[in-house]
């Protein structure tokens, strides 16, 4: 543990900087290949690098496991993360605030867009069943939830958001190969920008296990939720962004 703001990786002694790395190089296994592995490790800042395992796969690929010391420092004070900037409310509090301040039900439309059919994540947020012991948004009396399910196209989503007068649109993306999740999210946010006047655009939220939460602006959405999100967090954010927060006038 460390009080200071600069730390190093810890193998078994403070400051030892030890890390483990594995990768494949498209070369058959020989001494040159091991040298190539050391070269890559060196470029990653590992020095000394120990190639502790090398195994050829097929004709021309070799898998390596490397241990060694990285010389990088981690500056904790330079870490920028999307910290929760809103209070965490109970379901009862969410309901009370929506009822008293918004004076109508808050409408939420959810979907898995593109060809993605992984609904377990969005269902965990929306369905009564919820996740990790927390009930999903359907359980909240003052929220109206429309869950469109899987493989919804962007035009369908925009239409549904209109129809349901959505205050917020919640989109899930789980498949990430070839950055599918990023493409789909960009397409979605562009479609809303195009279809809805800026002032009346619903709050756009995306979630999924492999998103980088700091990319919201870049993707044109209001917020990103990652691995392990719970419904309570989402509900609290909705209240903050749409009812109580500074930007809530939108």
């Amino acid at each position: 543990m460390s009080g200071g703001s600069v730390v190093r990786p810890y193998g078994d002694t403070t400051g030892d900087g030890m890390v483990q790395v594995s990768f494949t190089l498209p070369v058959p296994h020989d001494k040159r290949a091991e040298g190539a592995a050391v070269q890559l490790a060196a470029k990653m800042g590992i020095d000394p690098a120990m190639v502790v395992h090398a195994k050829q796969m097929g004709d021309g690929y070799t898998f390596f496991v490397v241990y060694g010391r990285v010389n990088h420092l981690v500056d904790l004070s330079a870490v920028r993360v999307v910290e929760r900037d809103f209070p965490l409310l109970s379901a009862r509090e969410v309901n009370t605030v929506v009822k008293q301040r918004l004076r109508r039900k808050l409408s939420v439309v959810g979907a898995c867009i593109g060809t993605d059919a992984h609904t377990v994540g969005i269902d965990a947020i929306l369905n009564v069943k919820g996740i990790a012991g927390e009930k999903g948004l359907e359980y909240y009396r003052e929220l109206t939830v429309t869950n469109l399910g899987a493989q919804v196209s962007v035009p369908e989503l925009v239409a549904a958001a209109r129809r349901e007068r959505a205050d917020a649109v919640l989109v899930s993306q789980v498949v990430t190969q070839r950055d599918a999740h990023l493409h789909n999210t960009r397409e979605m946010s562009a479609a809303f920008r195009e279809a809805v006047p800026a002032g009346r655009r619903p709050l756009l939220i995306v979630g999924g296990p492999r998103f980088d939460e700091s990319m919201a602006a870049e993707l044109g959405v209001d917020r990103i939720f990652g691995r392990g999100t719970t419904p309570g967090e989402v509900a609290s954010y909705l209240v903050h962004a749409l009812v109580t927060g500074r930007g809530a006038a939108r």
Binding site: S22, G58, Y61, T115, D116, T176
Partner: protein, 518 residues
């Protein structure tokens, strides 16, 4: 046999109930057709290729027939009637003309009808003969190169999205010990109501299933089989909106196994239940003829439903899949009934529960190969733990005599498998099978103990559920979320507009051929 001390009366009752639940669905399937069934017929009759936009001629042709005379009569007669009228020899040319709007379709009667039937039957029979030849070819190659030395067969996926990356990876996997290669499909494909054409390089999290991709991969694996002295099998999906066509293409390109489930499309792709059951019956008739092993999808239920609470739904689905498969002509050796190692690893005695479930499947279906699916839902980014779980999955597979072992990847929760993941996974399998391959000899569930009790309880729950379903209907049960906790009403879901009830004069030469003993 008989490690579980199952009551044969209860087992017989379970099968009888499955028949009772399944029969109405068979009746439904026998009295309906779908656009994809008809397209499959045309593919067997020789329609090939696609228009410049990539829409296959079979789609253009069926659409044209449906526009003129509807779907309920089947397309064979109108198509071969038009062919005769147009004086054409090639059905693909007819399709092109029809697409250009220069052919009209009608329902012939009398002699013309009889001639059209005869002509269509001849054309389709030629297609079926091609499938027969591919089956004989497979038998020959298996004899020449040999089958894997032992069960379970090692089943590995490739999923780069690019057939030209898939091929070397598949070959590397075969060399490293894979007996079966599955090429995973691109995420969107199951909802496409057509089969893309040609070699493809742009799938997401999977590679498009096309006839050309099938051909390329099968050829590559033939090469590997020769090199390795062991026939390496190829798997794809007869699933989604084009299930019947996929089955036909698989038969034509000598694929060896196909993922093919009676309910997967309904539950996990929101495909209309009637569409699915009709497509499924036809596709299974083709698989039966092609000597293809099907793999059913019960494993998927446990990714959305709890593997302990809903274990009996897997058993129920296996019994239904078995019933539907037998009805469609598949033999026991072709039934890769699915199940999975998906119990939360934090549950006490989870491994013994898995053993109970896996052994239950084994003893209920002694002559089916059984497809054993690795942990997916409870895999996390902790790849070290992931490889460990996969090892215990392999152990249960070995101890309970599973037939087809889908190899688990330590990166399950992270990425589609890397080359190295597959290598690590195969090493895992080799270790477990080598070190503990004979452990089943010493695995004797204590009489009346934990494992026996659990298996008997799951079977009991399955019988109860079948009874409840029998009182209503399978379609109602599906609508109510019985399987995989997905609710799918019979009048909803994708592809319903591609379904039609048979008219009195419905004619399908393929069904006719396939339903006659070969």
């Amino acid at each position: 046999m008989g490690k579980l001390d199952l009551d044969p009366v209860v087992v017989a009752r379970a099968r009888e109930l499955a028949r009772r639940v399944g029969q109405p669905v068979v009746d439904l399937a026998r009295s309906h057709t779908t656009v994809s069934v008809e397209r499959a017929v045309l593919r067997l009759a020789g329609v090939a290729g696609a228009d410049p936009d990539g829409i296959p001629w079979v789609n253009r042709l069926v659409d044209a027939v449906v526009a003129d005379v509807g779907l309920g009569h089947g397309v064979a007669v109108p198509v071969f009637d038009a062919l005769a009228r147009e004086g054409l020899a090639d059905v693909t040319v007819l399709a092109q003309k029809a697409a250009a709007g220069s052919v009209r379709f009608a329902l012939p009667s009398g002699k013309a009808a009889t001639a059209a039937r005869r002509a269509s039957r001849k054309a389709v029979a030629a297609g079926v003969r091609r499938i027969d030849r591919r089956r004989a070819e497979r038998d020959r190659l298996v004899r020449r190169f040999g089958d894997p030395a032992r069960r379970p067969w090692i089943y590995l996926i490739v999923a780069t999205g690019d057939i030209y990356e898939d091929i070397p990876q598949a070959q590397a996997a075969a060399r490293a010990g894979a007996d079966v290669i599955a090429v995973i499909r691109s995420t969107g494909q199951s909802l496409l109501d057509y089969v893309p054409e040609g070699a493809t390089r742009e799938g997401f999290a999977g590679t498009y299933a096309t006839q050309e991709n099938f051909r390329l991969m099968r050829a590559a694996l033939d090469e590997s089989s020769r090199e390795l002295g062991r026939y390496v099998r190829l798997t794809n999906y007869a699933s989604g909106l084009c299930m019947p066509e996929m089955a036909a293409l698989a038969g034509l390109e000598r694929l060896d196994m196909m993922l093919n489930d009676s309910m997967y499309g309904i539950l996990f792709r929101d495909i209309n239940p009637v569409r699915t059951f009709v497509d499924q019956r036809f596709s299974r008739q083709v698989h039966a003829r092609a000597g293809i092993v099907i793999n059913t999808g019960e494993d998927n239920y446990l990714t959305t439903a709890d593997a302990v609470d809903e274990a009996h739904t897997v058993t129920v689905s296996q019994l239904l899949n078995e019933f539907f498969a037998h009805e469609a002509g598949l033999a026991d050796w072709q039934l890769g009934l699915g199940h999975a190692f998906e119990i939360n690893p934090d549950v006490p005695e989870s491994l013994r529960l898995e053993l109970a479930h896996a052994l239950l499947a084994r003893e209920l279906f002694p002559d089916a190969p059984l497809k054993w699916m690795p942990p997916t839902k409870h895999m996390t980014g902790d790849v070290f733990r992931g490889n460990l779980l996969d090892g215990f999955f392999n152990l249960v597979g070995a101890m309970t005599g599973q037939g087809i072992l889908l190899v688990g990847m330590m990166t399950e929760a992270v990425v589609t498998p890397w080359l190295s993941d597959r290598d690590i996974a195969l090493q895992n399998v080799r270790y477990v099978l080598g070190a503990a391959g004979g452990l089943h000899e010493d695995f004797v569930p204590a009489p009346g103990g934990f494992v026996q009790q659990r298996a008997q309880r799951v079977l009991g729950e399955a019988v109860e559920l079948l009874e409840r379903i029998g009182e209503r209907s399978l379609l109602t049960a599906i609508a109510e979320g019985t399987f995989g906790i997905m609710r799918r009403p019979a009048d909803r879901g994708k592809g319903l507009d591609g379904v039609a009830a048979h008219e009195a004069d419905y004619y399908n030469p393929a069904t006719e051929i396939l339903e006659r003993p070969a």
